[in-house]
């Protein structure tokens, strides 16, 4: 562990540097280099932040689901692996909430400027909102539940949430087939001109690399906190075993 840590730190800083560099290139592409959209004007540039982040925000819930399953599997068999899985589950849930919040916020700002309304209860927006609510409730459960229980309860909730996500998507699409309402902003691949591709891909790459960075950083923080807790517990036990003179 001692020899690994400095290398790990350098890799972490390198990864951080790469993600910032790619994001800077992406920013330059999106704001300065891509020609202004004919239909939407400059406000259409929000697309280059909104869509990549929206696409990536669908990834982290799956990571949370996988980690929660791993936690539940290892809980009785190998507690240390379970603890690691739980740390990863918490990190991926937080990053999922961060990315989904950004997706909703930028979407609302874009919608108001481009289409005149802040919100529409159409299929896609409602599904994303419900995704956000599900993972917010996961985080609230973790903070409200009693220590010791919170990890297992949260893992169970995560299973519920993951199973719910496709059901939410299908049910809301079905609802909107029954009761159509104006669709907000067209489909994700509707008319992406060739000139838009560089900005889009640079930002997609940038936010993906950044997302991996903050996920692993948050994971490392949680592991650090868990290890500190274990150390404190160990010290307490050792202190209680000391023979008084």
């Amino acid at each position: 562990m001692e020899q690994r840590t400095p290398t790990l730190r350098s890799v972490a800083w390198l990864w951080f540097g790469i993600s910032v560099a790619v994001l800077v290139v992406g920013f330059r592409q999106a704001i300065f280099l891509t020609p202004t959209d004919a239909a939407q004007g400059n406000v259409g540039r929000i697309f280059y932040y909104h869509v990549p982040i929206a696409m990536l925000s669908l990834l982290f819930p799956y990571l949370n689901f996988a980690a929660s399953l791993a936690y539940l599997y290892f809980r009785k068999r190998d507690p240390l692996k379970a603890l690691t899985a739980d740390a990863f589950a918490l990190a991926s849930a937080e990053v999922a909430v961060v990315y989904t919040s950004i997706c909703l916020l930028t979407g609302m700002l874009w919608g108001r400027a481009a289409w005149g309304i802040w919100w529409a209860w159409d299929a896609r927006l409602t599904s994303v909102l419900l995704l956000w609510l599900l993972y917010m409730s996961y985080l609230m459960l973790r903070s409200f539940s009693a220590t010791g229980q919170s990890q297992t309860l949260a893992a169970v909730l995560s299973v519920f949430a993951a199973v719910d996500v496709p059901i939410v998507y299908m049910s809301i699409r079905w609802w909107r087939t029954q009761h159509p309402a104006p669709v907000f902003g067209g489909g994700p691949n509707s008319g992406m001109d060739k000139s838009m591709l560089p900005a889009f891909f640079w930002n997609l790459a940038g936010w993906a690399v950044w997302g991996i960075f903050i996920l692993l950083f948050r994971f490392a923080l949680e592991r650090r906190r868990q290890l500190a807790e274990q150390e404190a517990a160990l010290q307490a036990i050792e202190a209680s075993l000391e023979i008084p003179r």
Partner: protein, 229 residues
């Protein structure tokens, strides 16, 4: 120390305790947001815009009512731990000062939730306030106080009851119906501009009258409730 000093002390204590954990306010905010989302799905503002505007006043107040009940239920629980309630009974300060301090603290929490919720509500329901928006700045606090003052009182009333958390809405809702009617009618009147200013003024006066009457009753009767056994 004078009466106001006691009230301020109780208020500060509650605000500090809440600030340390912020559990109650986070829970209330999330809950109110969820209620708004549920109503958004249920009433489909995109599909039926005129109807939703007409019921939007009711939806807002139902959301706030549910959110306040969640906060009010546990506003007295911290007095139950460590026999704090016994200490309060024996303290020389007037019991109604404790009540007022707690009621004002609850009022502040619900107002914070309202301040966050109102823009979200407007966004989700695509509302444009057709009437005079500043009237809402008058209606919302008056209505909130009506719910909070009675809610704090009844939450204390049910402290030793068996199904304490169920009891609060059972007691609060019937008593609050006149106030609920006034606040919903006034809010909807402002949002849809279907009522003229005299009618809205009448509802506001009724709400204010309700507030004064029930605040007085709560202050006078709190000591009895506190020492009920």
């Amino acid at each position: 120390m004078n009466y106001l000093g006691h009230v301020v002390d109780h208020l500060r204590k509650d605000l500090q305790l809440e600030w340390r954990s912020r559990d109650s306010i986070n829970g209330m905010l999330f809950f109110a947001l969820l209620v708004v989302v549920v109503f958004g799905l249920a009433f489909d503002p995109a599909g039926y815009p005129t109807t939703t505007r007409q019921i939007s006043g009711g939806i807002l107040w139902v959301a706030l009512l549910f959110a306040s009940i969640t906060a009010l239920n546990q506003s007295w629980t911290r007095e139950l731990r460590n026999q704090v309630l016994e200490a309060q009974r024996m303290a020389p300060s007037p019991a109604s000062a404790l009540f007022l301090g707690k009621a004002v603290a609850n009022m502040l929490f619900v107002l914070v939730v309202e301040a966050v919720l109102a823009p979200i509500f407007i966004v989700f329901f695509n509302l444009h306030v057709l009437g005079n928006m500043w009237l809402l700045a008058l209606i919302l606090p008056l209505g909130t106080w009506a719910l909070v003052v009675n809610g704090t009182f009844f939450a204390a009333l049910g402290l030793r009851a068996r199904n304490r958390e169920l009891l609060l809405p059972l007691l609060l809702l019937p008593i609050s119906l006149p106030a609920l009617l006034a606040m919903v009618q006034a809010t909807t009147g402002v949002l849809t501009a279907e009522l003229d200013s005299i009618q809205i003024g009448t509802w506001i006066k009724q709400l204010a009258g309700y507030d004064i009457i029930f605040t007085t009753i709560c202050i006078l009767l709190f000591e009895t409730v506190l020492n009920a056994e």
